[in-house]
């Protein structure tokens, strides 16, 4: 065995007492294995990871247990001895890798530091190694010189992965390596981890809350709850025949993109407070199959074949597996899913009409720029979007981060002024409405924000937060109290009296988001923009919030735009889905159809990147090329063409593509022969130092047989200036392919 963790217990000392973060965890990993540790937040997963390399915060301490790495107990080593194992043998991809790089050093140097502090190597050799590593994780060489803030989240994650690989460690601990990244980036990083395992037979501990990720990537799974490992075994067994009710609940809560789900399942309640852990089974409080014994006595870890389960009623598992599929088992009330399904389309009127809306953000040009009247450059966040939202409809808005989803959502409520276009609410221009009847519009439209930790004023009590809209609309005081209580009850915070005088910090993430929903629905608005309302929440409580959105539609007829990068949740609740890419909608249509057979290549990339919670299903990856381009200098033609796996000559290949292609083929040699290069739109000018003709011949050789041969309209040579002109191609507009299903692609 490479790593054996035996009966590990870790505590944190806080002001209020002792938090038993990990209690008697045992597991093991062999060479080349991937172990998944899965569970809700606050269950001790990260603590396990940090304990293995002993980087616990100051107030943490290991109470008992051993961590044997190649037979040596890491807990007994001195710091000096441990430093020889850290990174060289065991490296780490920490949670929140976004902030794991030191902001003041170049990323290449930080990887270099990791190598040089362990290997006696010359700086030049070490540098070569860093270049190799960057290539391995798919980062361009020029990124070596970048500072962390110049890189996107995905790129930073790759740097950390490169760093983790630097010394060919035997074990990598990846703590939520993809949380916070969008599906496309997540998928390519997952792909990377699998390659490492296969090619270098590294072992990986993958810590995540994402059940689907575990199902796809891991050989073994440990399910953690309340600081304890409650179920442990091979992945295919755990997903096929789980024993522990918590595992059943967690699996339920996780949507499978392939299935048409008719119910939103979640586990009501929240994990136990480990300051004061329960006497018996930690899950007893939320378990639907609880008996008296569970509350009194902690179940032993029982071996069943190659599985280990901590449950008193393991022998009932067959029955539980059937029952767990029913909402009633979990005490979830009648759901509103059915109402979503069919509604007469003809009876609907549009609540919101977005017409060719654009939003540009100017980039600062500085004092000098202003004095010299330099033209502004713009970030084209939303670049010509038209949409209709029907009465009582839920429309999903999906796309990678940076696609402009949030900006579009805020424009719909006029939280930001438009640059161009118009938006109509119930047939009236909202810009006009805001001028004459601002309150009237604000009363009927509301927003739920992504981060419930920031959307609530920390100095306000729940009552003040929820009642604020009523105050603005001057509702009488007695009525206010009743309506607030009703709203809290409506969002499932019962009894409401317990919540009225609490502050946000006294609530869990899920409860906070419920308060936020109560605030935005208390006036029963016609329109609700929900901007990633569940992405910051634990899987087990997500469905509960989504259910509220459906309930709002069913009871108040609220039309909802649900913004999310997670298509699996969109599929669960939305009638239609619109896919955004770089400020434009590329595909919009009925959710089922779009998800089942996407027409736009981008939608295909997006949907194929979603992991499936079934270890036996082998997903086919469609890998999009590279990362989302700069929204300042957009590609010509179809804006997706540089990344499109099926781009052809009609898609708008422009001078930059041609230049990049030539540069890639020639490398640095080219720069020696060339004086100046100018690329703009469809024309590329290259000024040669000498002998332009032979240079042109060289270029044409490179181009021949590639797509650029087809898209080249004209090549001319004047003196030593070579000019390429490419065919000018219009950007594809949305075309109806079926009733109500529009795609912006020449090949749809």
């Amino acid at each position: 065995m490479l790593l054996e963790v035996q009966d590990l217990s870790v505590e944190y000392i806080v002001r209020e007492g002792v938090v038993k973060a990990v209690d008697g965890a045992s597991f093991e990993i062999d060479r080349g294995e991937i172990l998944g540790i899965v569970g809700e937040s606050g269950c001790g997963k990260s603590t396990v990871a940090k304990t293995i390399v002993r980087v616990l915060p100051e107030n943490g301490r290991v109470i008992k247990g051993r961590v044997l790495f190649n037979g040596v107990d890491l807990m007994k080593l001195s710091e000096l001895e441990l430093n020889k194992i850290r990174w060289r043998k065991i490296s780490m991809i920490p949670q929140n890798a976004m902030n794991a790089l030191d902001p003041v050093y170049r990323v290449g140097d930080q990887v270099l530091e990791a190598i040089l502090s362990h290997e006696k190597m010359s700086v030049i050799d070490a540098r070569k190694r860093v270049v190799e590593l960057f290539e391995l994780v798919g980062l361009e060489r020029k990124r070596l010189e970048s500072f962390p803030h110049q890189l996107s989240g995905g790129q930073r994650q790759r740097v950390v992965i490169a760093m983790a690989l630097a010394l060919n460690p035997e074990l990598i601990i990846a703590d939520e390596p993809t949380t916070g990244l969008d599906v496309v980036t997540q998928d390519s990083i997952l792909h990377q981890i699998e390659i490492l395992r296969n090619e270098f037979s590294m072992s990986v501990i993958l810590i995540t809350h994402d059940v689907a990720l575990v199902a796809e990537a891991c050989d073994k799974v440990a399910v953690m709850y309340g600081g304890k490992i409650v179920e442990y075994g091979p992945t295919h067994r755990i997903f096929k025949e789980p024993y522990h009710p918590y595992t059943l609940g967690l699996k339920n809560a996780f949507p499978d993109i392939r299935e048409k789900r008719l119910k939103l399942m979640f586990i009501p309640g929240s994990p136990p407070n480990l300051l004061n852990p329960p006497l018996g089974c930690p899950f007893a409080e939320r378990c639907p199959f609880v008996i008296e014994l569970c509350k009194l006595e902690e179940p032993p870890l029982r071996e069943i074949g190659d599985m280990k389960v901590k449950c008193h009623r393991w022998y009932m598992a067959d029955e539980f597996r059937v029952k767990a599929k029913e909402e009633l088992t979990w005490g979830i009330r009648k759901l509103y899913t059915e109402a979503t399904m069919v509604r007469e389309k003809s009876s609907r009127k549009p609540v919101l009409e977005v017409k060719n809306v654009k939003k540009f953000f100017p980039i600062k040009r500085g004092l000098l720029g202003a004095l010299l009247w330099k033209p502004y450059k713009y970030i084209r966040a939303v670049d010509g979007v038209s949409l209709e939202l029907m009465d009582g409809e839920i429309l999903g808005l999906a796309g990678e981060s940076g696609a402009g989803k949030t900006t579009l959502g805020e424009l719909c409520l006029l939280l930001q002024p438009l640059s161009e276009g118009a938006i109509f609410f119930n047939g009236k221009d909202i810009f006009e409405m805001m001028r004459h009847d601002m309150k009237g519009f604000r009363e009927k439209s509301h927003m739920v924000f992504q981060n419930p930790y920031e959307a609530l004023n920390p100095r306000f009590k729940v009552f003040d937060i929820v009642s604020e809209p009523l105050k603005i609309f001057k509702v009488r005081e007695e009525e206010t109290i009743n309506r607030v209580k009703e709203a809290l009850r409506w969002v499932g915070l019962t009894p409401p009296e317990n919540y009225l005088s609490r502050y946000p910090h006294q609530l869990s993430g899920g409860e906070r988001q419920r308060v936020a929903v109560a605030r935005s629905l208390i006036l029963k608005p016609r329109l609700l923009i929900a901007d990633e309302p569940v992405s910051m929440l634990d899987v087990s409580v997500r469905a509960g919030i989504l259910e509220l959105l459906m309930k709002a539609r069913a009871e108040f007829g609220t039309a909802i735009i649900y913004i999310s990068h997670d298509i699996s949740t969109i599929k669960d609740i939305c009638d239609r889905v619109a896919i955004m890419y770089l400020g434009r909608i590329v595909e919009v249509g009925p959710t089922d159809k779009v998800v089942r057979s996407p027409k736009h290549p981008y939608t295909r990339v997006l949907i194929s990147a979603i992991p499936v919670p079934d270890p036996e299903f082998k997903r086919r990856r469609v890998i999009g090329v590279g990362e989302i381009p700069d929204p300042i200098d957009l590609p010509c033609g179809c804006r997706f063409h540089p990344r499109c796996p099926s781009a052809s000559r009609l898609c708008g290949w422009d001078s930059r593509d041609l230049l990049n292609f030539i540069m890639r083929k020639c490398g640095d040699e080219l720069l020696k022969k060339v004086k100046r290069i100018r690329a703009g739109g469809y024309s590329l000018k290259i000024v040669a130092k000498e002998n332009a003709k032979s240079l042109l011949r060289e270029f044409l050789d490179i181009i021949s047989g590639t797509i650029f041969e087809d898209v080249l309209a004209n090549v001319s040579i004047v003196d030593n200036i070579i000019q390429f002109t490419l065919f000018d191609v219009k950007e594809p507009e949305l075309k109806e392919v079926e009733e109500g299903w529009y795609v912006a692609c020449h090949y749809a």
Partner: protein, 323 residues
């Protein structure tokens, strides 16, 4: 980097002319008749006209402005009413007097305060850290003039180790500034105000460094550095202190900008002939040319110091870009 420095220099020139112009307008338009200040007794219209011509005040405003700018750039700032001599040498002298006291005090405070603060953060929760922090807060809250008075009382009056005030024992002879300060008599006068000032300035960098350091030590990249197997000293100095230094630099820039203003109390208590004390005297005697000169000088100094700190900052913190 070069581009940034050039850009920043151009900004500085623009700022300089803006201030210059504002000063001009303030004094020309704000005070309708400069003659009233120059000579207080009633003047006949003829003498008045002669004087006006002599000072160039009969010329149109834009010509006056041009003259004013040219004069300023050549170091000609007019004649002090009070000293009856050219303003520029006076301002320079007083400014150097202030600088020789304040700059060493500030530099000492920051070079000592930073490392002590970092050390405090590292020893967090120990007795030494708690006691030092409390002492620093007390020191920070005590008014500067009060500490100065106590210090004078103890060391100058009671123990008689040092003189109670002044820069040199009067009378003295010195051909230039350098000669004035390069001798033991000066050090004798210098040591007490310098110590009081450094001690009083020490608290801010110390507490600031301690706080930012604690923040940085809790951040994710420090945890990663630990997991990387770097030793504690490298983590503390290469990663933590390097990041925690940034707010300290900003604070240093703010403090240096306020040197002259901050020094008034100390200069008065220690009878130190600095620029701060000079401003208060000049205001008392309505010595407009002197006030104008000192204002411009202070502005210039703040601009230069800010420039230096900006350049330093962009070097230390790559996230700062002045595009």
């Amino acid at each position: 980097m070069k581009k940034f420095i050039v850009r920043r220099l151009i900004h500085m020139i623009i700022t300089f002319f803006t201030i210059l112009t504002m000063l001009f307008l303030l004094f020309r338009l704000g005070l309708p008749d400069p003659m009233i200040i120059y000579i207080r007794e009633g003047l006949g219209p003829e003498e008045r006209a002669i004087l006006m011509r002599r000072f160039g005040l009969d010329k149109p405003l834009h010509e006056q402005y041009f003259l004013y700018v040219v004069n300023f750039l050549t170091g000609e700032m007019g004649i002090s009413f009070y000293y009856k001599s050219s303003v520029f040498p006076i301002v320079i002298e007083k400014f150097l007097n202030t600088l020789i006291l304040m700059l060493p005090a500030l530099v000492t405070a920051y070079t000592l305060g930073g490392p002590i603060g970092a050390f405090l953060a590292w020893r967090r929760g120990r007795k030494f850290e708690k006691v030092t922090t409390i002492l620093a807060v007390i020191n920070y809250s005590a008014p500067l003039f009060w500490i100065s008075l106590i210090a004078i009382f103890i060391f100058a009056i009671w123990l008689r180790w040092v003189p109670a005030g002044g820069m040199r024992t009067m009378p003295y002879e010195a051909a230039n500034f350098f000669e004035k300060v390069m001798n033991l008599d000066f050090v004798h006068h210098f040591i007490l105000p310098f110590s009081v000032l450094s001690l009083s300035y020490l608290a801010i960098p110390m507490l600031l460094m301690r706080n930012t350091m604690l923040e940085v030590l809790g951040s994710d990249f420090i945890e990663l550095a630990r997991a990387k197997g770097l030793n504690e000293r490298v983590i503390l100095y290469r990663h933590a202190a390097r990041n925690a230094m940034l707010p300290l630099i900003t604070q240093f820039a703010i403090s240096t900008g306020l040197i002259v203003g901050g020094a008034v109390a100390v200069e008065v208590v220690f009878s130190w002939p600095g620029l701060g004390r000079e401003i208060s005297t000049a205001l008392k005697y309505l010595d407009y040319p002197l006030i104008q000169g000192t204002f411009m000088f202070m502005a210039l100094m703040i601009m230069i110091l800010n420039f230096i700190v900006d350049v330093l900052y962009s070097y230390l913190d790559p996230r700062i870009s002045y595009e």
